[in-house]
Symmetry: D2
Subunit: 398 residues, 4 copies
Amino acid sequence: MLERSDFLIAAPAGLAARFAAVRAHSARLAAPLSAEDCAVQSMPDASPVKWHLAHTTWFFETFILERFEPSFRAFNEAFRVLYNSYYNAVGDKFPRPERGLLTRPPHHEVLAYRRDVDARMAGLLQRALPPDAWALVELGLQHEQQHQELILTDALHLLSRNPLYPIYDPKAAPEARGGELEWVAFDAGIAQIGHEGAAFCFDNETPRHRQFLEPFELASRLVTNAEYLAFIEDDGYRTPSFWLSEGWALINNHAITQPLYWHRLGDAWHTFGLRGLAPLAPEAPVLHLSYFEANAYATWAGARLPTEFEWEHAAIARPDLPQLFGTAWQWTSSSYAPYPGFRAQEGAIGEYNGKFMVNQYVLRGSSLATPEGHARPTYRNFFPTYARWQFTGVRLAK
Amino acid sequence: MLERSDFLIAAPAGLAARFAAVRAHSARLAAPLSAEDCAVQSMPDASPVKWHLAHTTWFFETFILERFEPSFRAFNEAFRVLYNSYYNAVGDKFPRPERGLLTRPPHHEVLAYRRDVDARMAGLLQRALPPDAWALVELGLQHEQQHQELILTDALHLLSRNPLYPIYDPKAAPEARGGELEWVAFDAGIAQIGHEGAAFCFDNETPRHRQFLEPFELASRLVTNAEYLAFIEDDGYRTPSFWLSEGWALINNHAITQPLYWHRLGDAWHTFGLRGLAPLAPEAPVLHLSYFEANAYATWAGARLPTEFEWEHAAIARPDLPQLFGTAWQWTSSSYAPYPGFRAQEGAIGEYNGKFMVNQYVLRGSSLATPEGHARPTYRNFFPTYARWQFTGVRLAK
Amino acid sequence: MLERSDFLIAAPAGLAARFAAVRAHSARLAAPLSAEDCAVQSMPDASPVKWHLAHTTWFFETFILERFEPSFRAFNEAFRVLYNSYYNAVGDKFPRPERGLLTRPPHHEVLAYRRDVDARMAGLLQRALPPDAWALVELGLQHEQQHQELILTDALHLLSRNPLYPIYDPKAAPEARGGELEWVAFDAGIAQIGHEGAAFCFDNETPRHRQFLEPFELASRLVTNAEYLAFIEDDGYRTPSFWLSEGWALINNHAITQPLYWHRLGDAWHTFGLRGLAPLAPEAPVLHLSYFEANAYATWAGARLPTEFEWEHAAIARPDLPQLFGTAWQWTSSSYAPYPGFRAQEGAIGEYNGKFMVNQYVLRGSSLATPEGHARPTYRNFFPTYARWQFTGVRLAK
Amino acid sequence: MLERSDFLIAAPAGLAARFAAVRAHSARLAAPLSAEDCAVQSMPDASPVKWHLAHTTWFFETFILERFEPSFRAFNEAFRVLYNSYYNAVGDKFPRPERGLLTRPPHHEVLAYRRDVDARMAGLLQRALPPDAWALVELGLQHEQQHQELILTDALHLLSRNPLYPIYDPKAAPEARGGELEWVAFDAGIAQIGHEGAAFCFDNETPRHRQFLEPFELASRLVTNAEYLAFIEDDGYRTPSFWLSEGWALINNHAITQPLYWHRLGDAWHTFGLRGLAPLAPEAPVLHLSYFEANAYATWAGARLPTEFEWEHAAIARPDLPQLFGTAWQWTSSSYAPYPGFRAQEGAIGEYNGKFMVNQYVLRGSSLATPEGHARPTYRNFFPTYARWQFTGVRLAK
């Protein structure tokens, strides 16, 4: 556990408003979904939306209210196990693949849980607390924003399994940007990598350290649906030399021949997304690729994926590069590993990032599903190589 | 498809009222459950309650309205695939293990589907139709009654996976009957087995035929929780000689040490059921046993399971035997097989029973979850040997 | 354990010679195979030939020498676990799927083990022993004969996985018998089923008891390759209505489109067998079918599989029926179950048959791989419904 | 395919002798094993020794004889598929998990295959060939040396599954080195990483490039059995905070509580190895750890695993560091990835390394099973994180 400081301070300016805004945004994201939609888990990697709504609330209750609220009482003792995600240090966890079995508590009770915790947090935010407390509130908000993206990716996956092709938001679409792909060159040299300054960052963005970069070039935009279709039509999914060996086995074992949400209806390609089923938009970025698909495409295109260090250096040196943020997470060839000198925090909060640093690959940027203000050039997202249900795309490097 | 007859007749007396009553009972069974409860599938062998409500309706729409209603139009074309269970002849089927992904159509729309089909059926029941039609209506009602039992078994399984131990009906409990177990003797001879007469039966109850029975004895009542507990306490689950080889492997691979819904809380045994969690009732029948557990218990007790022919003969010869019906389905040692001369009907309806006649075992009687009027001495229920989520119990034979 | 009797008798006439002959036959069956061939296990259901050679020897050592030989000492203590098959009462068992890992003891040491036990048994056979002992020797010989068939089926399976199509015996082939299929009719009545008399039988053939048989007809010969090919060419493997539901799932999940050892090379069908690869012989019996394939064929042919009682009754009433024995085991529609009044023997020997009496189906007759003198009309072979690597065929009934 | 050069040269000095020596060493490694030992595959990740002997020979036949031998004829056409490992470009491959089914060709025929190819290669080595050819011969020898290590690791795994604890070589043991562990410090700076010069290296060691290293310290020796035992006794396998999340799941799902070849017999720890079973040697290096175990130990010890760049830099800067080579492969925290500017070769040879560059981790150094002369500071070995059957150990870093 973090040590409680000796002195107390008021909440940083704007934190209470920000707390209210972030929390309200989660509820807004769930609004187009029914209680049924929010209860079901479509695969072990995804969680029910109701679970996301409850778990983010549990985070504030467990790590803040329980420690700083006078005469704390749990909203419901059972929730302490039900909505713990992966914090071994906090106690028992409900098994992840069974989250979709929790039809009780009902949806409205989870909403009541949110309102209760919000009200108590609002009270706490008016008081003076140790500086730790405010840092934890900020961490809780960043955590909730991560789950806001998962609400969308997990809901989309559920809806995608429904033959009725339900629509979540008829206006949702990624930025389309075709035209000539250009290569932006960067010189060799030592780059400073990692977060700097007082603003919030996750522990995995630190310590700031040095990486030597050989000269490289980065694509001016993301790979488009039209470009990816050319790969498919050039027998991309049937040519082993484009693929990593493990990826070749995976696509053959699972009969994968196209991106996750592509559908061939009659003669025409369509994509499923938050706005439902739509004809494939040629200039829109290709989305929902696994690392293996991203890598195979890059090999076919005579290019490669960037390292996360190249990406970060470029994003800082050339912030005018299109589609860095807000369109699609961009696979890098960097496996998720601690930076030199990285130390996980003590206690449960220390389980946030470090223990996942193996057999996953770093994605940089952010997607159309990432909440406003959550992304930054040093941000490190990460997923296993087979993951396809996130808003993942490709920016090429050479 | 059944051939349409040349002449038309009115519905048998009482059929319209019976239709209304059976259909209303399904809705009543679902009433204590939320839309969330009804949407979730807790395992591939179980189906969501919403699916049961829709599929039973689909049966009437597909096999009756579509054939006999003038200017038929489907309530929703998509439902024809979504709610087909296993009739290959009718067309595509939605995959069974994914029934729990169908959060759309929403619960209220399925209820509207029921009301629509009910209204149209009520109209049809006032008309003159070929005799086939009325036979199919009766089959549809019997089919719905089977699903009424599954609504309860599947809902119970879902609730059982919830650590909050939700209650479905505080008054639901099987008949308790302890006291000395007596053996009722039957002489050897040729028994007539199978359905006779004009009343409804399923095809698997025919043709009526002869079976020679050697002399046997049947227990006067079902095995109780207290008796089964003695088996457990005598190392029943740790002694291989009580078990069929496949059963021994199963309980070891799945770490099974007690019936499905038994819980040891502190020092006391409890059972979970429709009324929630309750201390183990010693004189209540032991429930939710697999065939392997039933057989192991019988071996331990120096007895055996009856054959389905012994059971049927006894039930007809001694209808005063306690707990024949309404308490628990009773495992027999008979594998589910066609009677001599059995022929499945032509067409989709012929898929009802025959194609399941392998690697399943016959259960006789009926349970507390079986709707009134659905059981009879010749009725053949059947499940795979590992199944435990049904209301299954044991009556011993010698 | 069987109780040792109070009095001693000499071995029955001819037992010593029979012992020597049966044991020598096992070695002869292994002779065409290399030490490598004998060491490898091609699937969990099959065992290495070396294991069969050792296990049958272990049976005599454990159940006879250890109990009746003065100053018994095990040939090798380790073999007591390594070569126990499934007798829980005897102690630990080496896991079945890992039998193929036992490259030590080497092949020649297992042969030495056989010679040592044979010599000691030869000595014992000259002495007077309790009658039990001689019964156990006979059981051991019958047991060894069962493994002689498995030596052939398991070796064939191993060789079948080798793209070099190795030949075991160029002269081995089942009896071919085409021509018009005739139907032999039998009247209804009470049949006496099960073994009678003093000759050896397995416990599962007893007690002799009565079964009522409705009138039936039995095919005069087995189904031929040509007939089965007609089923395939009539879309037999693509038409669900011919198949039991579980069988339909199985052939689709495993992409099964033909019998286990059929190969389509260019335009011509071939079969693999003990004599290697050969063009399909139209009048030879179709072999290596699962229960599901046998049943689907029968359905397609407008017939059915016989029950084991029909088969036994016919084999006794009409012993001149062709291909009853020595060609192919014949699937029956009877699940493997105890006869009325069946009791397993006490002790380890009692594990021989009874504990397998679930989810398996009875095969009657015998095959080209069955040793001379091992079959009889009351013999009950049994395998799970998916099994295809035995010499299994079809005789139709109506 | 590599282009054939226009001019021809004689083989480099010593290549013919080296060819003979390396090839003879493989046969020597197989000599203590029987034909049975060499035929069996103990798990899908391992291959039979016979397969290694044949596949290394296939490499010379396919990539050298077939291209450079006048009037080439395959020793056996079937071997072209049977002994292709993973070269998609060369044609069909026999499935890896089924290599253990190939009891034919027999062991002696594979030895004859080796002799035949050796004789023909000896002839070729006397001739003038394009420079490519000699490079390929060297690649073939390096490839064979890699398989020499696998012959030992795979044979050890097979023997480890045998309850008789067979001995391969009573004198085989890793170097023991206890005493105080010291930390050797290295300054920050740009390191040159990767192979330089004309000597042989694998493509994955190139291109030579720059990496910035922050200051670090490296342990003076490997972690010992005694130290690892202290980790176990401090509840190392029961404390989630030491483990990566995926590793924690793995050891719990597979009930892993100790290194692969550790056995607790009575009160005493033993290890199984090439010399059979022996009491645990406290100062010997701990061997046969997965990446997860190595990482968990390092976390427990307050240290970490080195990166592959740190290891390489240290091995070049301080070649006097003990146990760099010849004791145990040392897990690094670097995932296996291409160096900047890496390009796989064209054609089948290009499949050697690049397509495995995902979800594996780099090991540096070499082990007691690595053939003499095969290791160097820039060598990159790699295995998936769960692999335990290699001679893998731990050198700590800070």
